[in-house]
């Protein structure tokens, strides 16, 4: 897909992230906006997911290990036509399919329930093992956070993905260097992530997570890797696309008020 078309879709996803969190008066805009370009390219170019196969497991699947970025996932699933755009306004409401953190079985296209950090990669390991057992060539994609890499389970999971030679799974780390309590490097430094993942047996690719060409090339390279999982370490900007949210820790888990919603929307519409 043309980069300009992707940019238009991603921009609309960002507007919907702002809308969802504004309507819910809660949620996590910062880490949703940092993941938007990666998720957009993944769902519109990389994964073989469409309206016909969305309710089946006979396709590529995705695990949002950083489940708090659910506004981004729901907005992308909506852009794919799996969720009515109007429904995005029900995010976090009583009875909504769009739970604060994704719930599989409730919402089409949500392939695993996530939200408790550190568990998604392990779940993906099980899915990738299942695909190997079944002898299919579907791929499992994961997006996890950089702060999430402080969880020991992340490393258990990558170790096991390497041990079982799971070249059918690809993990992307949304490396925006912010977590609730501050900069990741100040709270509990996870660097050097590339060397750590390499040491655990993964093929590592470092990219700019807002450059479609680099994201595209990384996912293409991952498909050619044999005998080991791939980890894409994507440098991103938390709050990307909204001037006052960018690289600002205060926008981790806070929703915009009416004025901020209008300003953010106006900024995104001007792009």
């Amino acid at each position: 897909m043309d980069n300009n078309k992707l940019a238009v879709i991603a921009n609309n996803v960002r507007k919907n992230i702002i809308l969802e969190t504004y309507m819910a008066k809660s949620g996590h805009p910062g880490g949703s906006l940092s993941a938007t370009d990666i998720l957009t390219l993944l769902y519109f170019e990389v994964m073989d997911i469409n309206e016909e196969n969305v309710n089946s497991i006979d396709r590529d699947r995705f695990v949002l290990s950083k489940g708090h970025a659910s506004p981004a996932l729901y907005a992308v699933l909506s852009a794919k036509g799996f969720i009515p755009e109007e429904e995005l306004k029900t995010f976090r409401e009583l009875g909504s399919r769009l739970q604060g953190h994704p719930s599989m079985g409730l919402c089409p296209g949500v392939d695993m329930s996530t939200g408790s950090l550190g568990q998604g990669i392990s779940c993906a390991v099980g899915m990738a093992l299942a695909n190997k057992l079944d002898g299919n060539d579907h791929r499992i994609y994961v997006l996890c956070g950089d702060g999430e890499c402080q969880e020991g389970q992340v490393w258990e999971a990558v170790m096991s993905a390497a041990h079982y030679k799971l070249d059918n799974m690809c993990i992307c780390v949304d490396y925006n260097n912010l977590q609730i309590d501050g900069h990741v490097s100040d709270v509990m430094d996870v660097s050097p992530l590339d060397k750590k993942f390499e040491a655990f047996g993964a093929h590592v690719i470092c990219i700019d997570g807002h450059d479609f060409d680099q994201i595209r090339a990384a996912y293409a390279e991952a498909k050619t890797v044999k005998g080991q999982p791939t980890v894409i370490v994507a440098k991103t900007i938390k709050g990307k696309g909204v001037s006052f949210m960018e690289d600002n820790v205060n926008w981790h888990g806070v929703a915009p008020n009416k004025e901020q919603y209008e300003q953010a929307t106006a900024e995104l519409e001007a792009k």
């Binding site: 079985g105 695993m112 568990q119 392990s122 390991v125 899915m127 093992l129 299942a130 057992l133 096991s160």
Partner: protein, 306 residues
């Protein structure tokens, strides 16, 4: 009478299930020889995954397998399967109602010499609290085998508590496992002993040391608990004794107390179990005696009632 550990039944049942159904997979965390999940390897080594000493990862990988349409059996020692990986069970197995069957061995103090770090007395309590989780504690080989075959095709997550040490056989190979249905092993009067797991053996032994003939029930399913049977027993007995090789907090005793209190029957409950204290190293029999859950101690308790 033969004395076989329920974990042996797990290995045997898993081996049969793996041979019958290619959709079944097994996970273990470096304890396949002890939990007996290694039996599955004899059928198909490609469907048995040793995940190393990393229970949290194992539990979620099993959830991922279940999300891929498989029936995933997971085993380790009860302490690590349910303690270390509790939150993984809660969020990645329980919440998505995954077809993950946790069959944990070495539960309770009959682990023996390994001591308190390995003697899990909180697992029933932990897993009983997870919505949708079924909890089974078989009392002998044939019951364990039948229970494991039954949970394979029960929708959603299940927990089966298994022991390290041998237990007497009460049932033969024709035994049919019925979820949530307690079994009256001896019909007596005044005192109803509701026992689970290894305490069925101890209670049946204790029965012959008592100055009354008590009713003895094998309560193999802790969740869903057999409310009807408990209420019926409460109406026809003066005392009810809940006996478990588990903490008296949160396990069978608590489940029975909940039923009794809500039914308002007035039957007095006595909880036999580990009295909110850690175990220690020792032989299983010695530990049962010291911690008050042996046949002797159960009989002593009943004989002291007026």
């Amino acid at each position: 009478m033969a004395s076989i550990a329920t974990r042996i039944a797990f290995g045997d049942a898993l081996k049969e299930l793996m041979a019958e159904d290619k959709n079944i997979v097994a996970f273990d965390a470096d304890l396949a020889g002890s939990t007996k999940s290694a039996e599955a390897k004899k059928v198909d080594p490609n469907r048995h995954f040793d995940m190393g000493i990393a229970e949290a990862n194992m539990m979620c990988a099993a959830a991922g397998m279940a999300a891929s349409g498989k029936i995933a059996f997971v085993s380790s020692f009860a302490m690590f399967a349910t303690g270390r990986a509790f939150e993984q069970i809660r969020n990645s197995v329980g919440y998505p109602h995954a077809n993950v069957k946790i069959c944990a061995s070495h539960a309770g103090i009959s682990v023996g010499e390994d001591g308190a770090t390995h003697q899990c007395i909180e697992d029933i309590s932990l897993l009983r609290g997870i919505p949708g989780m079924k909890v089974v504690v078989p009392c002998d080989y044939n019951e364990a085998k039948a229970a494991i075959r039954a949970i394979a095709y029960e929708d959603g997550p299940c927990y089966v508590r298994l022991g390290r040490s041998g237990v007497e056989e009460f049932f033969d190979e024709n035994y049919v496992f019925e979820f949530g249905k307690g079994i009256v092993l001896n019909k007596g009067e005044k005192v109803a002993i509701v026992a689970t797991g290894s305490m069925v053996q101890e209670s049946m032994k204790a029965k012959d040391m008592m100055n009354i003939n008590p009713t003895v029930v094998n309560m193999h399913t802790i969740k869903p608990i057999d409310k009807d049977l408990i209420i019926e027993l409460a109406k026809t007995h003066k005392y009810m004794i809940a006996a478990e090789e588990h903490s008296i907090i949160g396990g069978l005793g608590s489940a029975v107390a909940e039923v009794l209190a809500e039914a308002g029957t007035g039957c007095q409950l006595i909880r036999i179990g580990i009295q909110d204290i850690f175990g220690e190293s020792g032989k299983p029999g010695e530990l049962f005696e010291k911690y008050g859950i042996s046949a002797n101690k159960i009989a002593e308790k009943v004989n002291s009632l007026d």
